[in-house]
Amino acid sequence: MVDASARSCGQSCRRAARVGATAPRRRGQAKPTPAQHQPRPTTLHPGAWWLWSLSLGIAATRTTNPLLLTLLIVTSAYVVAARRPHTPWARSYSAFVKLALAVLLIRLTFAVTLGSPLPGTHTLVTLPEVPLPDWAQGIRLGGKVTAETLTFAFYDGLKLATLLICVGAANALASPTRLLKSLPGALYEMGVAVVVALTFAPNLIADVQRLRAARRLRGRPDSGLRGLLQVGLPVLEGALERSVALAAAMDARGYGRTADVPPHVRRTTTTLTLGGLLGVCAGTYGLLTAEGGTYGIPVLLAGVTAALAGLRLGGRRTPRTRYRPDLWGARAWLVTASGAAVAAALAIAAVRDPAALHPTVIPLTAPTFPLYPAAAILLGLLPAFVTPPPEEPS
């Protein structure tokens, strides 16, 4: 393997020189500085975006104050609007927003129809109650709908919706595919499998649309459940065929090439990985049981260390290198820090001032606007100013 690559490089260098000679004019402008990992000018490490978004999500779980939650949504939406790249997957944000709205609506619908154990006094409307048999005691269908129940459901649903929108923001700002590029070498092949699985769904939807259109051409109705079911088999067939074609293409392009490693390295890798995983299991068990409190943490840590070392050693088996890896620079730190600050501030505020972050429903009171936590949330806007703007589409 080693000498093969050396040989191909020698040849390639000569060829490269010739390519250069054939296009001297344009090459000058795009001349790469050799041997430097230049991150792409307009991209931030995808991990930073994901950490920032998830931090905002964690912050959302610390409060039920609708004003603070709305502020969180607005903050993330502003950053997404200002910094999302012009790519098809960046459009997934609107899908997440719709999903969040649906979650909120479903939560409210449940609150109305199933009622709630909350002892509310402000009755808004009384629905006819469906009598249920004895064994379904504790479940109520219909009945009184109180303002307290609705408000509680709204707060709760909004929290969930905010969380979803934050995940959507992460998706829009940095596609999971890019995140997977940063996986360690030993996990890379698994990562590709995940990526292929991720592209499976959008392709499947495109296929369904195409085949339903084709049904119309055959003179059959193109809507309805039956139409969907009848195209099911051809769609799956098509998806399977495409997967096989992709697998063939990947194989022909060198996916899964392995380097020869000495047997002792291979054995050490296996021992470290397996031993590490065992350690993680034992450590977790220790942590969760009452009497294992003493050995739990050290065993867990040792297990994690061994497993990571195994992964690192396992990376030697894959000769892969990375093209322009995303670098974790000062901007990535700033973005992550701004997210972490929001999460930390809300976590502290939730302990210090629970009344403001969890407005009471009984008795029904208007939520107050806590100033310091709100100011802290605005820290989450930092990425919109410190990161470079997305490239204009050409």
Binding site: V19, G219, A245, R320, P325
Partner: protein, 576 residues
């Protein structure tokens, strides 16, 4: 560089080998073109170079295939990745990552090249293929020609010594195809890359080939020779060779330029032949009176051609097969139509041409109601397509989509035909009869064949029969000749001519200038969603350098489009 030693391949479950006795060598730095009718095993040969046959497809390979000295029996495709680059028929199924730059780097990453080498090669390849402006673009937003260039670039970056291409230009418009072929020629000339390529559209590629490997028929031995030698006897040949054979030129010209230098005599004879009968545009009409008659009406016909009584069994309620008025469609900014006005009369064949992404498919989809118009009106035989229930619509208009397979759901040909009869409430057996009419050879195909196992040409015929079962007066075809060999194309052309004679109005969106020249009365050129030319086929295609068929380029300034027309003219003048 690539060496086949008495190779035969038998797939699992097949009783006979798909290819056998293949014995040839592709020398280093040459471009070898693999030609032959469909189903002779071209793709099998191509895929056995990269090791995908048999490592990936299964089956048994006898004999030996070596690439740069490596035996594919002992080397898996991934171990050949640094010497062979393979691009299949469909570039979409080739892409692993989602942006252009990452895709170019993917192969090198797998091979473990150092980052600085990767960086340099990506930049070089971007320049070589003219992709610099597209480097950060998501691949799904690129046009067909751009995608094909990215696919070629992605196998080029590991600097393979051999490149294997399966129909690299069949999905591309003439200009994009030339772009891709120019790149290939540059690779062969400047980098010494060895290329083995299969392509049905010989008129596009033959002048680039150093040698041609011909598979004359299934299980016949492969022959290798210079293009002129092989073309003298090949069952598949481009129009320029057809003309050369007819005129008895030797050695055979392979390019338009060579043919033009020889053609002065032929041009004179043609001018005399035409002059001896009638002058002017009637010449074209006389060569094929039935179909050219509508483009340039002969005096005997009524001047307003839509008053002609359509011969179809169910005359459409509207005098026009389709009317499109000021149609505008807003979709994504790249795919839109702007104020399209178009009228089609029964019996007319219209070819819709233009770049990839010019709006041809969008217009066809609008005519069948898959896309509602943003503004303007569309009527097909009196019906508004997007408001008509599908059951009624198929009696007005039928579309054979780009991938005819999308139309087919059933497990067998017989079931498919029965379903089509039921959908159209036609008499049982209608579809099957149509199918046999379209493709007489279909009687050999057993009724229980899965549509998937049909050849491209047979599948297209089946889809066409399914659509025609409802007897739509307007028939639309989207890119019908993709993947068809010359024989299948000729059968399709005959079938379409007969349908037009029966009174069907036909619209085809196509990149295939030869097909358009052969059957279209009228050509509409689209660019960026607007009609930029609309007129008789002879006038429109001859005026455009990229859409002109080979015969018209050779015989310009006379307006001849096909070899058949030339033959007719010479034959009839010889008799008189």
């Amino acid at each position: 560089m690539i060496r086949f030693e008495d190779v035969s391949v038998t797939y699992d479950g097949a009783t006979e080998p798909t290819v056998q006795g293949i014995d040839f060598e592709v020398p280093e730095g040459e471009l070898v073109l693999l030609v032959g009718p469909s189903g002779t095993g071209k793709s099998t040969i191509l895929n056995s170079v990269s090791g995908l046959v048999p490592h990936f497809t299964g089956g048994t390979l006898r004999g030996r295939v070596t690439v740069a000295g490596r035996d594919t029996r002992t080397h898996k495709p991934r171990e050949l990745a640094d010497v062979v680059g393979t691009v299949g028929q469909d570039p979409i199924s080739h892409f692993v990552t989602d942006t252009v730059e990452d895709e170019l780097a993917y192969g090198m990453e797998s091979l473990g090249l150092p980052p600085d080498v990767m960086r340099r090669r990506v930049e070089e390849t971007l320049d070589l293929l003219g992709l610099t402006d597209l480097r950060a673009r998501p691949i799904s937003t690129l046009s067909g020609g751009q995608q094909q260039r990215v696919a070629i670039g992605s196998v080029l970056t590991p600097h393979p010594q051999a490149l294997i291409l399966d129909e690299p230009t069949s999905a591309l418009d003439p200009a994009a195809a030339e772009e891709v072929l120019a790149v290939l020629q540059r690779l062969v000339h400047d980098l010494g890359t060895t290329i083995l390529m299969a392509e049905h559209r010989l008129e596009r590629v033959i002048q680039y080939a150093d040698q041609i490997a011909l598979l004359p028929a299934q299980r016949e031995p492969l022959r290798l020779g210079t293009p002129a030698e092989i073309m003298a006897e090949s069952p598949v040949y481009p129009p320029v060779v057809d003309l050369g054979r007819m005129a008895g030129w030797s050695p055979l010209p392979l390019t338009v330029r060579d043919a033009r230098r020889r053609a002065s005599g032929l041009r004179q004879r043609l001018a005399q032949a035409a002059g001896s009968r009638a002058a002017g545009a009637a010449r074209v009409g006389a060569a094929a009176p039935r179909k050219r008659g509508q483009a340039t009406p002969a005096p005997a016909q009524p001047p307003r051609r839509w008053f002609r009584k359509p011969t179809s069994a169910t005359p459409p309620p509207s005098p026009h097969a389709a009317e499109v008025q000021a149609l505008t469609i807003h979709r994504t900014p790249t795919r839109a139509l702007t104020s399209i006005t178009l009228t089609l009369t029964p019996g007319e064949t219209l070819a819709l041409m233009g770049r990839n992404g010019a709006g041809k498919s969008t217009l066809l989809n609008t005519l069948v109601g898959l896309i509602p118009p943003t503004s303007g009106t569309v009527r097909t035989g009196g019906a508004v397509p997007h408001r008509t229930p599908p059951r009624d619509l198929i009696r007005h208009v039928g579309l054979v989509p780009q991938e005819p397979r999308d139309l087919l759901y059933a497990d067998t040909v017989a079931a498919e035909c029965a379903a089509a009869d039921a959908d159209a409430s036609a008499a049982p057996g209608t579809c099957r009869t149509l199918l046999t009419d379209l493709l007489p050879g279909m009687t050999d195909v057993p009724d229980d064949t899965h549509p998937r196992d049909l050849s491209e040409g047979q599948r297209l015929a089946l889809a066409l029969a399914v659509v025609l079962t409802a007897r739509p007066p307007l028939l639309l075809l989207d890119e019908p000749t993709r993947g068809l060999d010359y024989a299948a194309k000729a059968r399709l052309a005959t079938a379409l001519k007969n349908l037009a004679a029966e009174g069907h109005a036909i619209v085809l969106a196509t990149h295939d200038v030869e097909l358009a020249a052969e059957i279209a009365d009228r050509v509409v050129l689209l660019a960026d969603g607007e009609i930029i030319a609309d007129g008789p086929a002879a006038d429109v295609v001859v005026a455009s350098p990229s859409f002109a068929p080979q015969v018209s380029k050779i015989l310009a300034p006379q307006k001849w489009l096909t070899v058949a027309q030339v033959k007719d003219a010479l034959g009839s003048s010889g008799r008189s």
